[in-house]
């Protein structure tokens, strides 16, 4: 890359430009942004280009793309990464190298054909990530090597370090090799998780009720409309939930060095991510109901990167681990595991009453609605409502018991583990020093039952926070107090 001259105080910096193919990406963005305006003009002119003004309008996206490319530059110094963008309003971002949470790259199919890469550098703040698109592979490798406190032994150009090792501090240990069969199973398990199934069941019941209320003839009249609008969404939603992550997560690999956690995955668009291991805030294990039946779980590493793609599910999420593999993966982030999910402290059994209260309310509403419909339309609806209300109470009892049995927590000198979920389970493991804040929350019913929910904030995004519902109020406040005292004694630099 040819260095670009800087201005004023930036003259000492060696500014570099992204790859010229960036103009193509900027052109696509510019067309998207001006699409409505262009369409309007073309419609007005009957799609004919016969005046200078029309040519200017058509050339606007091209000019915008070129201007954006020429105004974008970046520089790396010993202390920081500088990034300048903007045509009229110029913005310069300066990110200290010690603030870098993670570095990720993304290669679409076209980018791989052209030897280019999109690179994102994330810190812990919101909306301040530096995004460089596009860089040549060599420039990306050079930049990633410069930014690592220990240089990464694996470059963008290589397909993966399995079986290779540079030894010493940069020794790369494959923590998870590509196993697409597990990823397929995990995607199926996730796609068939209980949420979409409940939505499908509710929609089916709604259709049945609609048929009973307005009659099949009325439904037939609108069948075509329903068939064109509702049914495709209905039918395609489940396969879409399975196929979309599958495409993003195939060929997933995970490595660790002494300092870094590194991942790579993706079928058409390849994503690579790298983060300091000490930056990981929490490790979350997700076990969907169907996934458990298929013998798989997902393990997510949440860093303090607030909004960047480096913390998107596709990069620091192991999408297909065998059940219990989290016990070998979690130490990559939290250190030697001091806890596991057996022999946990239980929350108060009064949590069952709180959960049952919701199901009782739901059953009551179903009963009232069903009886009303039964009195006005058909007695059959009333009896159906009674049956559904009874089933709701029974399901509530089973669900509340199962939830209470699975809800638990464990605490050691340095780590906290929380398990929750009746149907889709979730285990959170974190180092206590990562706690940024603690909230104790009580609904009206919880106050009456003497319960409270404890929510621990970390430097990660929302799914990096840890929530422990329905502790006794005393336990919640004592646990919050203990964790905050420990956290307050640790310098913040170790917690982000």
């Amino acid at each position: 890359m040819t260095p670009v001259a800087g201005e004023g105080a930036d003259r000492d910096l060696t500014w570099l430009r992204p790859h010229p193919l960036t103009m193509l990406v900027e052109l696509v963005d510019a067309i998207k942004q001006t699409a409505v305006f262009l369409l309007f003009v073309l419609l007005q002119r009957g799609f004919s280009i016969d005046t200078v003004s029309d040519l200017v309008v058509i050339a606007a996206p091209l000019g915008l793309a070129g201007a954006r490319y020429l105004s974008t530059r970046y520089a790396v110094t010993a202390d920081a990464v500088h990034h300048r963008t903007g045509i009229v309003r110029k913005a310069t971002a300066v990110m200290a190298r010690t603030s870098i949470q993670s570095v990720t790259t993304q290669e679409t199919l076209m980018a791989r054909m052209t030897g280019t890469v999109e690179l994102e550098i994330a810190d812990a703040a919101a909306l301040s990530d530096i995004r460089l698109r596009l860089l040549s592979r060599e420039d990306a490798d050079r930049l990633m090597a410069e930014l690592g406190s220990s240089s990464l032994s694996v470059s963008v150009s290589e397909s993966g370090p399995v079986g290779s090792s540079t030894g010493g501090r940069d020794a790369v240990v494959p923590a998870r090799v590509a196993d697409n069969s597990l990823i397929v199973r995990s995607s199926i398990g996730n796609g068939l998780s209980i949420g979409p199934l409940i939505a499908t069941t509710v929609l089916s019941l709604a259709l049945v009720v609609a048929v009973m209320m307005v009659g099949l003839d009325s439904i037939r009249q609108h069948l075509e409309l329903i068939g064109v609008t509702v049914l495709p969404l209905f039918v395609l939603s489940v396969p879409a939930r399975i196929l979309t992550p599958l495409v993003r997560l195939m060929n997933f690999k995970l490595w660790s060095t002494e300092d870094h956690l590194r991942s790579e995955g993706g079928l058409f668009t390849r994503q690579q991510g790298s983060s300091l291991r000490e930056r990981v805030q929490t490790v979350t294990v997700e076990r969907h109901w169907f996934g458990r039946r298929l013998g798989v779980e997902r393990v997510r590493f949440s860093t303090a990167d607030f909004d960047g793609r480096s913390n998107s599910p596709s990069v620091f999420l192991d999408p297909g681990a065998r059940l219990e593999d989290w016990k070998t993966l979690a130490p990559l982030a939290v250190g030697s595991l001091e806890l596991d999910d057996t022999n946990l402290h239980r929350v108060s059994p009064l949590t069952r009453r709180r959960v049952m209260a919701r199901f009782v309310l739901l059953a009551f509403l179903i009963l009232i609605g069903g009886v009303a419909l039964g009195l006005t339309m058909s007695p059959g609806i009333g009896w159906l409502a009674v049956a559904v209300a009874a089933a709701t109470i029974l399901i509530g009892d089973l669900y509340s018991r199962r939830r209470w049995e699975r809800l638990g927590w464990a605490l050691s000198d340095n780590q906290l583990l929380v398990r929750a979920g009746a149907v889709d389970e979730r285990i959170n493991v974190m180092r206590i020093e990562k706690v940024q804040s603690a909230s104790v929350y009580q609904t009206l019913l919880q106050r009456r039952l003497g319960l409270a929910t404890l929510r621990l904030g970390t430097a990660g995004p929302v799914h990096g926070d840890v929530t422990l519902p329905d502790l006794t109020e005393t336990d919640a406040r004592a646990l919050a107090d203990h964790l905050l005292r420990h956290s307050a004694s640790v310098p913040i630099a170790r917690t982000i």
Partner: protein, 130 residues
């Protein structure tokens, strides 16, 4: 307050448009008065429930009438402190203070008197991220 104000405005408009319609004015005034009383009661309950505490080590805020929240942040976890005030706040000399951490959980202290805000910001700033 806003709902009650809205009701009063609607009633005034109705009265002006259909001057002399006493029944209409009565039907509009009753909900307006009820809304004002309800607003006053809710506002008082919320004010009573909202407290904050600053100690050497942490800052704690509690709020909520039906559901109670208590959030505690160690002072050495405070990343930044922001303040905001709308037109009504400015009228009464009040400012809302938000304490930010590195995560998504922030702590909000609403409607602090202007005189106290500088002290609060100085105190919280001393503990910032050390």
């Amino acid at each position: 307050m806003g709902a009650a104000f809205g009701f009063v405005v609607v009633v005034l408009i109705l009265v002006v448009v259909d001057a002399g319609s006493e029944r209409l004015a009565l039907f509009g005034l009753i909900p307006a008065v009820m809304a004002m009383v309800a607003g006053w009661m809710i506002g008082t309950a919320r004010w009573r429930g909202w407290t904050y505490e600053l100690t050497a080590k942490w800052v704690t805020a509690s709020w909520g009438v039906l559901s109670r929240h208590t959030t505690t942040i160690p002072r050495n976890r405070v990343q930044s402190v922001t303040t905001e005030a709308g037109p009504l706040d400015n009228l009464f000399g009040l400012i809302s203070v938000k304490v930010h951490t590195a995560g998504v959980q922030d702590l909000r202290i609403p409607h602090v008197h202007k005189a106290s805000v500088d002290w609060l910001k100085a105190e919280l700033g001393q503990g910032v991220a050390s």
